[in-house]
């Protein structure tokens, strides 16, 4: 008899109790919609409209057509992507073995090494780039402005973004798996191919994304190490600042985002294929 009423009262109370928490998110939802979603919609809006007689907006694809007709701009875009891809590959070639070797050390050495690799990230990125400019000035100023200087700078600035995610997944692999592989007669190379690599691919992919994205859009590195060379980031900047052509700038930004999105999806796809292979073999 006493049992029934108590339960219903608890249930009623709970209804009242749980609700307040859902309101906690309101400041964030306002922020999310006003400072994240609306700006994105604005970019799209500006990219596909043109103002006529300062009064009304008309749909247009003129900026996109203009971009693809200016071979110079398309070349800048292609150059930026090629440089970013090369940077990413070099970061991977240095970063993967580095992360792998670090995991083979004692825990305390691992902690120190990870700290040493990531600590420079706390120094302002412009300052680190300027430091490389000073080094190039010292060894051979003629190198400034070349692809080589730009790639060295980008590898320098973005390498930690490759090392960290790879190190994180590698350090989580159970060492017993290596022993098991060795016990089953796997050579070092085979263990690496069949155990280490498949288990670390997710870290590699997030590393690739984290390097590719900022490398493709940087304005800072080409300015200091490329002798003011124009890459895609600088091109967008100029459309906004020098020529005040926002619609065009927005359109270039959209093209850039789409290309990067396709590249990221493509790398993700590589991972899925690997998984399928693994499943089939298992």
């Amino acid at each position: 008899m006493f049992h029934g009423p108590l339960q219903t009262s608890v249930r009623e109370k709970r209804k009242v109790k749980v609700k307040p928490y859902t309101f906690l998110g309101i400041p964030y939802y306002i922020l999310l919609s006003s400072l994240i979603i609306i700006p994105l919609l604005l970019i799209i809006f500006y990219a596909v409209t043109i103002q006529e007689q300062g009064l009304y907006y008309k749909f247009t694809l003129i900026y996109f057509r203009q971009f693809f007709n200016e071979t110079e701009f398309v070349k800048v875009m292609a150059d930026s992507i090629v440089l970013a891809v090369m940077t990413t590959l070099i970061c991977l070639v240095i970063g993967y073995p580095l992360a792998y070797y670090i995991t083979k050390r004692k825990p305390i050495t691992q902690a120190i090494l990870v700290l040493l690799i990531t600590a420079p990230m706390w120094v302002n990125m412009l300052i680190r780039t300027v430091a490389w400019k000073q080094i190039f000035d010292m060894i051979n100023p003629r190198l400034l402005g070349t692809d080589f200087a730009i790639i060295v700078g980008m590898v320098y600035v973005f390498l930690p973004f490759m090392v960290l995610p790879i190190y994180t997944v590698l350090s989580k692999i159970d060492p017993l798996l290596y022993e098991a592989s060795a016990d089953l007669g796997g050579s070092n190379l085979k263990t690496f191919r069949k155990v280490t690599l498949p288990l670390s691919i997710s870290g590699v992919l997030s590393g690739i994304t984290m390097v590719l994205l900022p490398a493709a859009t940087t304005m800072v590195i080409p300015r200091y190490l490329g002798q003011n060379r124009v890459l895609i980031g600088t091109l967008i900047e100029r459309k906004f600042y020098d020529s005040g052509n926002w619609g065009y700038g927005a359109a270039i930004a959209i093209i850039l985002s789409l290309i990067i999105m396709v590249m990221v999806l493509f790398t993700k796809k590589l991972d899925r294929n690997k998984e399928v292979e693994r499943d089939e073999k298992a």
Partner: protein
């Protein structure tokens, strides 16, 4: 065989560290140069440090970088933490939608976020300055707070808050006493990420600060006549501070490695 491998990997690690620290070493070295040159050594001097502190422009940029970073960190951590707690009580469909939207600025190139915010402020006829810059920093820091704190909140036992309330706690007290202590580490991590992101930011600040706002990065980028050695002095001080913080942090957390 193992020894041999260890030696080779050691050399490799050393080479990478050399690559990582060579520019930093050169920065520090030339901050003590008596010459104005950044490439030839002219003797030891503290000249550039004195000049650094006398330069009102640089000091102004440094102070504003700190002010914006501190405010952006406090606001984004509060907004993000509450949102993470609230979000964990929402329906799954809504939750996933919000998390996906939250990730947009994280996966988008910075320059896209930057021009989006620029277009927003211009459409609202907001004059670019420290106000818009702060709003922009809050906008890109909060998503990082959410992705750091939310997984931790989600891993908590949901009956915890209910238990606290059944024992008579108000909703706010329940969060304060039952939830906060358990997500404290995640909140600190989020604050550290937000502060670093804001402190280091260039692209988004550059596009949203208008012609009046400045910070260290904008100051450097808009320098017309090359880089003066005062920048080396500034960098050296920043490197020193970072080194001290990182070392202290390491000493304080060293125990956990010893136990392993």
């Amino acid at each position: 065989m193992k020894k041999h491998n260890n030696l080779l990997s050691g050399i490799f690690i050393l080479l990478v560290l050399l690559f990582v620290y060579a520019p930093i070493f050169s920065l520090v070295l030339f901050s003590f140069n008596a010459n104005r040159s950044l490439t030839t050594w002219g003797g030891f001097s503290f000249e550039w440090y004195g000049e650094l502190f006398r330069s009102r422009e640089i000091m102004n940029a440094v102070v504003w970088t700190f002010i914006i970073a501190i405010l952006a960190t406090i606001i984004s951590v509060i907004v993000g933490t509450f949102a993470a707690i609230g979000l964990s009580k929402n329906k799954k469909l809504f939750r996933n939608a919000v998390i996906n939207l939250n990730n947009i600025p994280i996966v988008n190139p910075e320059i896209v976020t930057a021009i989006g915010l620029l277009l927003l402020f211009q459409s609202l006829k907001l004059q670019g300055g420290y106000g818009t810059m702060l709003l922009a920093h809050i906008a890109f820091c909060t998503p990082y707070v959410i992705i750091t704190v939310y997984p931790k909140v989600k891993s908590l036992d949901p009956s915890l808050i209910e238990a606290a309330q059944d024992l008579g706690a108000t909703p706010m007290r329940a969060i304060y006493y039952a939830v906060f202590p358990q997500i404290k580490v995640a909140i600190f991590a989020a604050a550290a990420i937000a502060f670093t992101m804001s402190f280091d930011d260039f692209v988004i600040s550059y596009f949203t600060a208008g012609s009046t706002g400045t910070n260290i990065s904008i100051y450097l980028y808009t320098l017309k006549r090359g880089i003066p050695p005062t920048i080396n002095a500034l960098s050296t001080i920043m490197i020193l501070v970072v080194t001290i913080v990182v070392t202290l942090n390491f000493i304080l957390t060293r125990k956990q490695y010893k136990e392993v």
